[in-house]
């Protein structure tokens, strides 16, 4: 699956606090707070300073998690689109 390559800001650009199963995520470059549900934090971590396309994101996350999805490519594409709209990942 050849798609666009995305990259997220390095970890020091954000402050995170776990709130139960959610993550309060302060993004310093925008001064904005986001509430993230899994797998958004994991995707950001996988792309922090390391560009990759959707397949690579899945592979990186898959090293540490059992991925559960009926349609992983569609799901990951939807997650990346959301994160791009929020300005948390950008085209590399």
């Amino acid at each position: 699956m050849a798609g666009p390559r995305f990259v997220a800001d390095p970890p020091e650009a954000a402050r995170t606090v776990a709130l139960e199963t959610l993550t309060a995520f302060y993004h310093a470059p925008s001064g904005t707070t986001h509430i993230l549900a899994p797998p958004a934090p994991q995707i950001l971590e996988a792309l922090a300073g390391r560009p990759g396309e959707a397949d690579e994101v899945l592979a990186r996350i898959g090293e540490r998690f059992e991925l559960a999805s009926d349609d992983a490519p569609a799901a990951i594409a939807a997650r990346l689109a959301e994160l791009e709209a929020a300005g948390l990942v950008r085209r590399a």
């Binding site: 310093a28 470059p29 925008s30 001064g31 904005t32 709209a85 300005g87 950008r90 085209r91």
Partner: protein, 337 residues
Amino acid sequence: MSASVVARLLADPAAAAEVEDWTAVFAAARGESLTGSLAFRLKGLKLPDKVGRLLADARGAAEAGRTQALWEAEMARRALAPLGLPIVLLKGTAYVAAGLAAGTGRSIGDLDILVPRTALPEVERALLAAGWEWVKEDSYDDLYYRRWMHELPPLIHSTRDRMIDVHHTILPLTARPKPDAEALVADSVALGNGLHILCPEDMVVHAAGHLFADGDLAGGLRNLWDIDRLLREFEGAEGFWQRLHDRAARHGLLSAVHRAGRLANDLYGTPVPEGWRVRDGADPLFKSRLLARDGWGHPTRRALRFGFYLRSHWLRMPPLMLARHLWRKARRRSEPA
């Protein structure tokens, strides 16, 4: 009265020792959107604790505003990057993006960018696709903007609630001076991340033209402070004043630039060439208008302000067009409900 104290403090921070009524200074500075600039200007001085606290708060507010302005520019850059165009930042966002002294503590509202006029349709499409929306759908205003203005009708981002003004030149097309828009873009300076700023001389010409050849001078004290900071930062460069003169002449804004220099010199002690310091009969009126705010933050000199408001319309439009414009506005107001 009190706007003049703000101007004095900006020009000479040591005068802070003589301030008796800081409440009035803050009210006037807030009214002129100069609190952040003042707070950075007075940083490090020995001042009463409470004054220092309020100034620190103002610096915090300015820093947050700076982050937001830069982020909005970055989001516009991402939206427009596929077009491969030079995107020129204007005004406050340009000052902070370039790290200029004029950006220190400056309040920044909308994002202003300049693009080649021929690229407007694709820029508009790209912004609409990336979540920006028209602020209003009114055909007359739309047509009015497209035919006569130097910018697209304002767009606002649907989730970030920030406005963007997309300019293709720096004065309304109906104004008498005709700036050389192609030269503005061609000679802009790349910042290295895909965004550009105007070259130093054009930056001064734009600030002066915006202040004296376009608007009604509301908030003008802040804009004149920009000009002071820009001139002081650029004047050390070899041949700057001659280049500024030539560039202002090329854009048809020499008199605006000269007036900006004279008034900045008068209010802020800005260094300008000896030859610029001529007497001008209208300068005192401009100065009064710039300082028309009291220690309650309340605008003063109502008649003078109204006069400058009329002047701003006059500058933007030839008389016949102005009459037609006002006629249409009046008719729309009085249309039967």
